[in-house]
């Protein structure tokens, strides 16, 4: 019985951290960001060798059959390094959707493809998650889809998309299907594009199990992974701020010897400590304590989003004017944290859902569409 990482998890952490430290540099991040490329393909190849896309895919389907907790350990490292690769949709939500709602044939067709890194899967669930209705609800008739799906994750390089319709049914759609148009929208995080998917009578394959029943679980996994990634990114920002405060001199002293600066660093460090346990617990609950999983995920992401924003601005502030420049590259982490905050539910929304889940809301005030995401 232990609250922490097992020996195997420490090994996973080490191998990903080592590879990412070696291969992700400020230059490589900058290249992806400036060129509006969706991902670092060379890095992707190395991460595929480490098993990145197959973490949650069973061994018989070519993956390693690990838990969401293991995936969260990896997500922390991806966030720490600012790795410009797809993960939350293609390696977490898509395999889960297939495992939970796919038929045997669908699982056999797609899971090995995902695990081998050959097929990238985008997830188009934005309207189901938030009920914002910013797209035109995707409607289905005779397994043909129509409408507009905004804010699709990991979709820029995707070969396949998993989409929800207005009834929260899930479909597999080939990205090159006739009648499908994909528009890449740049975001604040130059390494994380979102896509809008336009569908005009597009052939789709429904996931045969009832996707509706599993949507909340799939989204919850995504939230926990985004929180983990933001945690890693925040830790890295704190590390950089502390290092800078130990080097930068003003008034004949390093700035880290001034209490004003010291206390900013202490506040960041203090706030991040419980975040780690909160995220670990949420991932563990997802794997092992189903009755606590939803609430734990909502609390973990909403809290991490808030602490992430605090650390992102404070670490920048500790760097003074240099933090504001492009030279230090600190802004890449700032932007990743900001990006993750907005995906799969902003903190206010998640807290409203958490209140609702615990019977602490006047339920009539909750938008109807979000019911599925609870």
């Amino acid at each position: 019985m232990e609250f922490g990482l097992s020996q195997e998890q420490l090994l996973i952490q080490d191998s990903f951290r080592g590879t990412l430290e070696r291969l992700v540099t400020l230059d490589s991040i900058r290249t992806i960001s400036n060129d509006s490329q969706a991902m670092d393909n060379d890095l992707w190849k190395h991460l595929v060798e480490l098993g990145l896309p197959g973490l949650l895919v069973e061994e018989e389907d070519g993956g390693t059959g690990l838990s969401l907790f293991d995936a969260a350990v990896v997500a922390i490292e991806l966030g720490r390094s600012m790795a410009p690769v797809p993960f939350v949709a293609t390696a977490v939500m898509a395999p889960l959707a297939l495992k939970l709602a796919g038929s045997t044939a669908q699982r056999k067709a797609w899971l090995p493809e995902i695990a081998s890194g050959k097929t990238i899967v985008g997830m188009a669930l934005a309207d189901s998650v938030t009920g914002a209705g910013r797209g035109t609800a995707v409607t289905a008739a005779n397994n043909r889809l129509k409408g507009r799906a905004p804010f699709t994750l990991d979709a820029a390089e995707a070969d396949v998309l998993i989409m929800s319709d207005a009834e929260n049914n899930l479909y597999l759609v080939r990205a090159d299907a006739s009648g499908l148009e994909r528009v890449q929208t740049p975001t604040i995080d130059g390494t994380r594009p979102l896509c809008e998917i336009m569908l005009e009578d597009v052939a789709a394959e429904p996931l045969e199990g009832n996707g509706k029943d599993h949507l909340a679980e799939i989204i919850n996994a995504g939230r926990i992974i985004l929180a983990a990634e933001s945690f890693g990114a925040s830790e890295e920002m704190l590390r950089r701020a502390v290092d800078y405060a130990k080097e930068r001199r003003q008034f004949d002293r390093v700035i880290g010897s001034f209490q004003a600066v010291k206390h900013l660093c202490a506040e960041m460090a203090a706030e991040l400590q419980p975040c780690q346990s909160l995220i670990w617990y949420a991932a563990y609950a997802f794997d092992r304590l189903p009755e606590e999983a939803q609430l734990s995920g909502l609390l973990a992401k909403s809290h991490m989003d808030e602490i992430g924003r605090f650390v992102a601005r404070t670490a920048t502030e500790v760097h003074g004017g240099m933090g504001y420049t492009d030279l230090m590259g600190l802004h890449f982490w700032f932007k990743r944290i900001g990006f993750n905050r907005a995906q799969l539910g902003t903190p206010e929304k998640l807290r409203a859902l958490a209140a609702d889940l615990q019977g602490l809301t006047n339920t009539s005030a909750i938008p109807r569409q979000t019911a599925a995401a609870r």
Partner: protein, 403 residues
């Protein structure tokens, strides 16, 4: 990560439930909180309940049997099960106090065999009330500058000086006290840690009224107080080390996640029962947002504490992990109190001054008392210095004068 309820733990949960069902009629109405807010002698009910919990292993579980404890091995899951089940059943848990939570672990670590035999058992059974003689009028955050002297005289020390912020001194039978026994040694080397009875001749107690309206702490004056040398804990001149061990336990007690959880659960009840302008509280979304924000923080602190216990059991150094608890935990409690007051609206300002947990008036008291705890036990600013200097290795504050 493994928190599985193994059959051993399932069985343990059953045992706890059975215990609660069987004995809950003996549970007292007052909790440890109310004694902290308004120190007074424990009632017979409270003492008997504490004695029962110690005997059955639901309080001070890990204190060895030879000193009157239950002698259990540390087990985070069992500790969590006890907390969960007691909360679920709404029965008071074991007491925490300066004696039980701070002195006992310090004695177990540094005390002589005789000291442990004499004091651990009676203290955990709430038969002896302790107070802490640390701060002095001129030694607050800079505790090691303390000046209360203890001059050798045969087999005794003669103590002279004064202490301040001494919680519960007016009801305590015993004090653990820092004194300067070696006036010629350096600032940190001349201090000893003494334990002695509060009815020793020469001790004068002056209650210090606080903003809560209760004299929860005092000034204590020592005039030629004779204390035997056998009352030294941890060796003469070694008091600073012993004191720091107690301070670490104090930080742990002040920031215990259970205290935050208890507040959170009371607020949940309040939310479900209270109405605002004849609407249920739950309809005020902004209040619910604040509640969930704080719920996430409470859960974060609970799991963080579990991680620290797990690390300690595995022999891993905790470092930064321990250092952040006092800063975060005390601030969190204060924010929880503030939320409760806001939920109560006008009712929230009613103040009857009686520290009963059943009354709404408690929240105003806690709101002030918890502000006191943000300051006491090392201010929030001192905590940030500790985190930055010891946890993040940023340069230390220059230490002027004697080192």
């Amino acid at each position: 990560m493994d928190l599985t309820d193994q059959s051993e733990h399932k069985q343990f949960r059953e045992e706890v439930r059975k215990f609660i069902a069987e004995y809950r009629h003996l549970a007292p109405g007052d909790t440890a909180h109310s004694y902290r807010l308004m120190p007074r002698p424990y009632s017979d009910d409270v003492r008997n309940w504490q004695k029962l919990l110690v005997e059955k292993g639901y309080a001070t579980r890990t204190v060895p049997t030879e000193y009157g404890g239950f002698g259990a091995k540390p087990d985070i899951l069992k500790s969590k099960i006890i907390v969960d089940e007691f909360f679920r059943a709404n029965v008071p848990q074991g007491l925490y106090s300066q004696g039980i939570s701070m002195l006992v672990p310090t004695l177990l670590e540094h005390g002589t065999e005789q000291q442990k035999k004499d004091w651990v058992g009676p203290t955990i059974r709430a038969e002896v009330f302790w107070c802490q003689g640390y701060s002095e009028p001129n030694s607050g955050s800079d505790l090691a500058s303390l000046q209360t002297s203890a001059i050798e005289d045969g087999d005794d020390f003669i103590v002279n000086g004064s202490k301040i912020w001494t919680s519960s001194a007016h009801v305590a039978q015993m004090i653990f006290c820092l004194v300067r026994t070696e006036p010629d040694a350096g600032k940190y080397d001349g201090i000893s840690y003494l334990i002695f009875p509060m009815d020793t001749p020469g001790i004068e107690i002056q209650p210090l009224q606080t903003m809560t309206g209760h004299p929860s702490f005092n000034e204590v004056f020592f005039t030629d107080v004779r204390v035997p040398k056998s009352a030294v804990v941890g060796g003469r001149g070694k008091g600073w080390k012993v004191a720091n061990s107690t301070l670490a336990h104090e930080r742990g007690m002040l920031s215990s996640a259970n205290m935050s959880l208890e507040r959170l659960q009371k607020i949940e009840k309040l939310i479900k029962s209270e109405e605002i302008s004849s609407h249920p509280t739950v309809e005020t979304a902004a209040l619910m947002d604040r509640y969930i924000r704080l719920q996430a923080r409470v859960q974060g602190m609970r799991f963080h504490e579990m991680r620290l216990i797990s690390d300690a059991a595995a022999g891993k150094p905790s470092g930064l992990g321990d250092m952040v608890c006092k800063l975060l935990g005390c601030e969190l409690n204060h924010q929880l109190d503030a939320l409760a007051i806001d939920i109560l609206e006008e009712t929230g300002v009613l103040y009857d001054g009686i520290p009963s947990m059943e009354l709404d008036g408690i929240w105003q008291q806690l709101h002030m008392y918890d502000l006191g705890l943000i300051i006491g036990g090392g201010t929030a600013q001192i905590q940030k210095n500790i985190i930055a200097e010891r946890g993040l290795s940023l340069p230390r504050e220059p230490r002027l004068g004697q080192g």
